[in-house]
Symmetry: C2
Subunit: 163 residues, 2 copies
């Protein structure tokens, strides 16, 4: 059985006991989370989010890319969020390669070199500060002042703020 088929069986059980079918589209806590895609991060569990509470945006690294600015623009302008919480984490895969290494590997394997940045970084705190700066510099976000960055420790489950 494929992994997806197994997850669909889980979903059938979830739907049987589902009871939150009438929540509004706008997030109740008016907050958007931007976190890494890492498999060890259960965003709802580690933040105690209930269904309907917050937008959750995730990509490789949890870095603020153009696509994250797009998502945050929609989150703030159309769906009323006011705060942004960035979550990077210890032992992140993005710390373990360089853009040049990965592009070389892809070039050799696929014959095409990605034109886009792969988003690797060397320092979690620096990457968080760069992501915060990208949000603050965006002309598209009406609420770019309430953004805070955190490192999630995958060994302890605890968030630490980076200032």
């Amino acid at each position: 059985m494929s992994a997806i088929d197994s997850l669909l069986e889980n979903n059938a059980r979830y739907a049987e006991r589902f009871s939150n079918g009438d929540l509004p589209v706008a997030p109740a806590r008016r907050v958007a989370i931007v976190a890494c895609m890492d498999a060890r991060i259960d965003a709802a569990a580690l933040l105690g989010l209930q269904a309907g509470d917050a937008h959750v945006i995730r990509n490789a690294g949890g870095v603020v890319t153009d696509d994250v600015i797009r998502s945050l623009t929609i989150s703030q302008r159309l769906l009323g969020t006011r705060e942004i919480m960035l979550v990077h984490h210890t032992d992140c895969g993005m710390l373990k390669f360089t853009d040049t290494e990965l592009k070389d590997e892809i070039h050799e394997d696929a014959g095409v070199r990605p034109a886009f940045a792969m988003g690797s970084f060397e320092d979690l705190e620096e990457s968080l500060r760069a992501s915060i700066a990208r949000i603050e510099a965006s002309p598209f976000l009406p609420h770019a002042d309430a953004v805070r960055g955190f490192v999630y420790d995958v060994a302890s489950g605890r968030l630490r703020e980076v200032t």
Copy 2:
């Protein structure tokens, strides 16, 4: 108290009972989920994911953008995932505006017009098929054949496959 401060209190309680501190970075089920950022979607709960099971990538709409291709490239090439599951959903905010409307509003308010697509769409199934096609056409993904698209019904909690 800010929403973020409240979530940090939740995290302190989470960390007190945390017990999954030694999971590997590579996802155990070798699957990457691409889902909408919608606040009503608890990706781990609705798929029965355990910590360490799967990459979770999310943005406005759950559409496959360049940034999603970037994340999937890292997921497959560096962290061993093999299947991709796309999740759009009913009552999605992306169905309720057009790119032109939102860009006009931003232009008027901020004095700058976004050069990037906002990602709105008119039909969930068409958008899913377009996202699947983008994955299949990418030269960067070594495992672009095992991608499946689903609509999550926010009223029932149930996934429906789009073929």
